[in-house]
């Protein structure tokens, strides 16, 4: 009975994690501009990663493998948002600005000392 329950939990966690991972990737392809793509990447970074690792943890049971999975989770939990922030920050500094939604004006940051580079496709 308990085994069935654990198997069910693992199944739900892994499948939903896989679902969110794919959703994030679809968002990365589908969204129209860079700034919205950042948010799509953040979906698979947070939900997909947490759910998949949690599923693997429950599957492995109490062992050192679980500990390693948790360590990987913590590392991704810290570095994931940090690198997202770094990409966004670099894009902002290089002069890329998000298109504002209808009726909104962005709080334009004061012009940075850097010569705002053209975002030429590389």
């Amino acid at each position: 009975m308990a085994e069935m329950l654990i198997a069910g939990i693992v199944w739900v966690l892994i499948v939903s994690g896989a679902f969110f991972t794919v959703i994030g990737a679809i968002g990365i392809v589908r969204f129209p501009d860079f700034w919205s793509r950042l948010h799509a990447a953040s979906v698979s970074d947070s939900a997909g990663m947490i759910l998949l690792l949690a599923g693997m943890c429950v599957f492995a049971g109490w062992s050192l493998i679980t500990v390693k999975l948790i360590v990987i989770g913590v590392v991704l939990f810290i570095t994931g948002p940090t690198s997202t922030h770094a990409v966004a920050n670099a894009a902002l500094v290089s002069g890329l600005r998000p298109p504002e939604g209808k009726g909104l004006t962005g709080t334009e940051p004061e012009p940075l000392p850097d010569p705002a580079a053209e975002t030429t496709p590389i």
Partner: protein
């Protein structure tokens, strides 16, 4: 179940690769590389379970670290065209405090 997850992560990686190929700006590409790295970490973990050799997790952890450092290095290089000290950059940083 793990097979399903493997297929899903593979599909996600292919989609991200499309963005890496098409992404109009440099930052789209860096974003795609970073997402690809996260997916690789997950894939290594899942494959470890699938093949019954969970000691691959060490490699997954290593890959997560390298992915982070690589992203930061690429960003810094394309910002300053150098990975060391840049004179006007450090002056700017210390001026802000």
């Amino acid at each position: 179940m793990f097979v399903l997850a493997t297929i899903a992560v593979f599909a996600a990686m292919l989609l991200v690769l499309y963005r890496l190929y098409a992404g109009p700006t440099l930052y789209d590409r860096v974003l795609a590389v970073n997402a690809f790295g996260t997916h690789t970490v997950l894939l290594i973990g899942i494959m470890g379970f699938l093949s019954g050799r969970p000691e691959f997790l060490d490699i997954a952890l290593l890959y997560a670290l390298i992915n982070f450092v690589g992203t930061i290095a690429i960003l810094k290089f394309f910002r300053y065209r150098a990975i060391g000290d840049v004179l006007h950059a450090s002056a700017e940083d210390e001026g802000e405090t």
